[in-house]
């Protein structure tokens, strides 16, 4: 989140879209309701299905899965045409005034530079005209025909009410209602918050969904202010922390890039990844990347990393340029026999990755598999699942008992970037151990083997700075970072081994160690482990908006609202003094930690507010994504229509689509699969359901796999509530119990009726008789920026079942 959970109470309008917050983040909803009760905030819920979130919203707007960009594109058009944007903010804090290169173009669904052969763009034309110093030229009047603002208006001129209504299935009335209500937050003393979750990310246009909302929030001046922001409601119980530590193929801790084969040396890596800006008013914070990378390498290899050996850069694996090593590709390669062995920790891919039949089959090709889990599930026991003969499956299995969270101590990071400590209640039960301890032991055994017997390329393994045992707080300290030699900082002497006070002292010369620059400042000599803090004191200014600066610690540097320099004018005075985030008075900032301590812009010594962007401005025109600098509507990979009104390009031209004999797909408007399926979680079950199905009363509350459908569809198929049904896609079939409900309504899409149904995915065969993986239906296609699969839209058909074997009736 750019903001944080409690801040939601400060909003004037919550746009909840691609999320069912009341059911999947239940406890946070009190802050939405508080905004409503105490400030009269509006709540808008945009989601295909009516749910408990909708029941508490002022209005619910159902839209067809996968049409959010059309929906929001219409809002951008509305905002610009009706001049609802916050003019001063847009002119000064966004790149609206930047002049785009004349080589840039857009025609019929494609931007300039598309290469159809490898489905990617040469982005060199997505750039700005620059002056002699390489700084983008600007037209502050926003009149130049190629200024970003003009191009933005041009791009969304096609997103009129007729077209948007036709493709989304939302009435023009509902569209205008949402646009008018939300656009009202463009006033300087109003703030709107966008709350989204996997309803947005799980699409082949997922990142562009979020980009569209970022454009809207920038136009309305809602970034950096209390009650505003782009607020991802993160799912998993330390997914924020695990994302920050980048347990992801393409990045290293602190969001540094994975080294690639075309950057053979550390200098090449630094040069390719460190942005340069000659605008002295732009902080361009990522220019400090080399310091963070070297400090990380020192953390990994200790004294074995030095300037001469590029701090161990050579020992790191290099991905192919453009290589994708994510889940979808991993399981495809596994299916094709290219993966020999690996480990799975506290995750259940046999339930939660698309095309489960293929995933489960793929695992049979592994020679060995190590799993750390708290209980058996569909992944640990894939080798004797219904319908297979274990005597034909070679996979050697190692199953490690992982202890429960309450049996270990450590820190986790919540969705609002707060780093929180949890204490150890008891020793781990039985022989269970923490996953940290298990990882430490495995690596120590492997290191022992390499130390004894060399083997292939032993250097990175034997040179690792690795503990003998897992002691959480030792790692917490290393994550914050410490000095590798005696260092003086502003007159204070830090000895070798002492904690660094913040990331501003990290260096690229090997004198500092830091496992994650974002967390520097979280565990200091002065204040100890700040994740443990439970101090409720706030200044009056802070208390007004509920910042809690002394409860735990958040990254970066305990700044609770990101980009908060955009919440003030150039004199450092808040747009809305009733919800001050920061304020310049008596020659200093008060309130939250300012996003850069420089004095206000008017002093001549300030910096533009968007300090993580190279040019310091919020990006309306965003040249960094794979499929375009402006979001554009494309249909989901499996779609009930053959064309849409915005262009001839039906689908995302860069979408990642996996091809194999197990990955059959529906064609557009496929008569075999005319119904749109969306999938979602439940309140009583967690995701794939592995853990929660083991709690008797949670299972009693939600006992079996069901499919929700409209009364109209049920009548068509002669189905009544409680009937067992078969839902089928090009990839598999799933048994479920029908729920016929008003919560889903048919959509009128381009003049024809399109039905949408919804299914949870919490039920698996290891709990007998409750149903099995919904993901046997879903499609192996992903977003080109993240490769997150399109769980939220695929095409299916449904019929009454004569007999079912997966569900006890």
């Amino acid at each position: 989140m750019t903001n944080h959970w409690i801040d939601i109470k400060n909003t004037d309008c919550a746009l909840i879209i691609g999320s069912n917050a009341a059911e999947h983040h239940p406890v946070c909803f009190k802050w939405v309701l508080k905004a409503k009760e105490e400030r009269g905030a509006g709540i808008i819920h945009v989601d295909p299905k009516f749910s408990r979130t909708s029941a508490r919203a002022d209005f619910h707007v159902p839209l067809r899965s996968g049409t959010d960009i059309a929906f929001l594109g219409g809002m951008i058009k509305y905002i610009t045409e009706n001049k609802k944007y916050f003019d001063e903010y847009v002119r000064n804090y966004t790149n609206a005034s930047f002049i785009v290169s004349e080589k840039f173009g857009f025609k019929d669904g494609l931007f300039s530079g598309y290469n159809a052969a490898d489905k990617s763009y040469d982005k060199s034309s997505w750039t700005f005209e620059t002056d002699a110093n390489g700084v983008p030229k600007k037209d502050p009047e926003l009149k130049h025909p190629r200024c970003v603002f003009e191009l933005l208006k041009q791009h969304y001129s096609r997103y009129d009410l007729d077209k948007v209504s036709g493709i989304t299935g939302v009435s023009k009335e509902d569209l205008l209602n949402v646009y008018e209500t939300y656009a009202a937050t463009g006033q300087r003393d109003k703030a709107g918050t966008v709350m989204y979750a996997l309803g947005w990310t799980q699409h082949t246009v997922g990142v562009q969904n979020i980009r569209t909302s970022a454009i809207i929030q920038l136009l309305l001046g809602n970034i950096g202010v209390a009650g505003g922001g782009i607020n991802a409601l993160r799912g998993e119980p330390n997914v924020q922390g695990s994302t920050d530590h980048c347990v992801l193929y393409h990045i290293l801790p602190g969001y540094l890039a994975l080294p690639r084969a075309n950057w053979p040396r550390l200098e090449d890596y630094h040069r390719a990844n460190t942005p340069v800006s000659n605008d002295s008013m732009s902080a361009n914070w990522w220019r400090h990347k080399p310091k963070y990378m070297v400090s990380l390498l020192k953390g990994w290899f200790g004294d074995n990393a030095n300037k001469e050996n590029g701090f161990g850069y050579d020992w790191l694996p290099k991905g192919d340029k453009g290589g994708d090593y994510s889940y979808l590709y991993l399981f495809d390669r596994m299916y094709k026999g290219k993966i020999k062995g690996g480990s799975i920790w506290a995750t259940n891919p046999a339930q939660s990755v698309p095309n489960s039949n293929k995933v489960r089959k793929a695992m049979e090709n592994l020679d060995w598999l190590s799993i750390a889990e708290i209980h058996h599930n569909e992944t640990t026991d894939f080798w004797h699942r219904p319908g297979v003969d274990p005597k034909k499956i070679k996979t050697e299995m190692f199953l490690w008992p992982s202890c429960h969270r309450a049996e270990k101590e450590g820190s986790i990071s919540n969705s609002g970037r707060w780093v929180l400590w949890h204490w150890k209640a008891t020793e781990p039960q039985g022989q269970s151990k923490s996953m940290g301890q298990i990882m430490v032991e495995i690596m120590n055994k492997v290191r022992g083997l390499y130390q004894k017997d060399q083997g292939v390329f032993p250097e990175p393994i034997v040179n690792l700075d690795w503990p003998a045992n897992y002691e959480a707080e030792n790692i917490t300290k290393k994550i914050n970072g410490y000095f590798a030699q005696d260092t003086e900082v502003k007159g204070k002497l830090y000895k070798k081994g002492q904690q660094v006070p913040s990331f501003t002292v990290l260096k690229d010369d090997g004198s500092t160690v830091c496992l994650n620059w974002l967390y520097a400042g979280s565990f200091t000599e002065e204040d100890g482990n700040k994740a443990k803090r439970r101090d409720y004191s706030q200044t009056k200014l802070q208390e007004k908006i509920g910042i809690y600066p002394n409860f735990s610690w958040c990254w970066p540097v305990n700044r609770r609202i990101l980009y908060n320099r955009a919440s003030v004018d150039k004199n450092g005075q808040p747009w809305d003094p009733k919800r001050t985030v920061i304020q310049w008075e008596n020659d200093k900032w008060s309130g939250d930690v300012p996003d850069g301590g420089w004095s206000p812009l008017a002093s001549g010594k300030g910096r533009y507010p968007f300090i993580m962007q190279k040019e310091g401005h919020g990006q309306l025109f965003g040249p960094g994504r794979q499929e375009g600098p402006f979001p554009e509507h494309y249909e989901p990979i499996e779609t009930p229509v053959k064309k849409h009104p915005f262009s001839k390009q039906l689908n995302n031209p860069c979408a990642k689509i996996i091809a194999s004999d197990a990955d059959q797909r529906a064609v557009p408007d496929d008569p075999r699969y005319p119904i749109v399926l969306t999938t979602y979680s439940l309140t009583e079950h967690w995701c794939g359901g592995g853990e929660t199905r083991n709690v008797p009363w949670l299972l009693e509350a939600e006992p079996q796999l069901y499919v929700e459908m409209s009364q109209e569809l049920a009548a068509e198929k002669n189905i009544t509530s409680g009937d067992p049904v078969i839902v089928e896609s090009a990839r598999g079939r799933v048994e479920a119990i029908a729920i016929v409900t008003v919560r889903l309504r048919p959509f009128n899409v381009l003049g024809k009726t399109v039905h949408e149904i919804g299914m949870p995915f919490a039920f698996g065969w290891t709990t007998p008789g409750v149903g099995d993986a919904t993901n046997r239906l879903c499609v192996s296609a992903g977003d080109p920026n993240t490769t997150i699969p399109e769980f939220k839209a695929c095409c299916v058909n449904i019929r009454k079942a004569e007999k079912v074997t997966e569900i006890n009736l």
Binding site: L233, P264, L330, S343, S415, G436, V446, W466, I479, L698
Partner: protein, 187 residues
């Protein structure tokens, strides 16, 4: 005295509930009799965090004789103010579930069952498989460029891990040369 939630928490804190209530002016005798029968009497209170969504509600674990006998919401966490959803409310059931794996298990190739094996034996066996696979499948160079990686091995998970565990897992996997490295954030 004016009783705000903050005052209440300040006085009751952890484990000092009854003394504080007397200070606040309550007559405890009937309550004391009732409390003598409460299962959490005399228990140690430890704060942990729900392992489900990223609201990260805190809970208080009541511990007696080395066992968690009760869990409930922690009012000291400003985001939840003591609330828990159905999953968080079931925490003690999950901690003490019969379904929990409490021993390591091994499955031999082509076997139809899990076997109990010693932790040490399994560790040695797994480490040797890791080394054997890595040594055999390691790719030093590809298309004339140094890659120093092993595509044939992978790691998945986990957003269930603490920050400290994630940091170590990342370090270890890159040292092994693994690029098929992913977890729930991408799902």
């Amino acid at each position: 005295m004016k009783l705000t939630r903050r005052t209440f928490i300040k006085f009751t804190g952890l484990g000092a509930a009854s003394a504080a209530l007397v200070q606040l002016g309550f007559d405890l005798s009937p309550a004391e009799t009732y409390a003598a029968e409460l299962k959490i009497r005399g228990a140690k209170e430890v704060i942990s965090i729900c392992p489900f969504c990223a609201v990260t509600c805190h809970f208080i674990a009541h511990v007696k004789n080395g066992k968690v006998i009760n869990t409930e919401g922690d009012p000291g966490y400003p985001v939840s103010e003591g609330a828990l959803c159905a999953k968080g409310a079931a925490m003690s059931a999950m901690i003490n579930s019969d379904h929990r794996l409490l021993k390591p298990f091994y499955r031999a190739p082509y076997s139809d069952r899990w076997e109990e094996k010693s932790w040490n034996w399994m560790m040695d066996r797994l480490a040797s498989r890791i080394k054997e696979t890595r040594d055999k499948q390691f790719i030093t160079e590809k298309n004339g460029q140094k890659v120093n990686r092993v595509d044939a091995m992978f790691h998945l998970g986990s957003s269930q891990m603490d920050n400290e565990e994630c940091a170590l897992v990342h370090q270890a996997n890159r040292a092994l040369g693994i690029v098929h490295f992913d977890h729930q954030a991408r799902i």
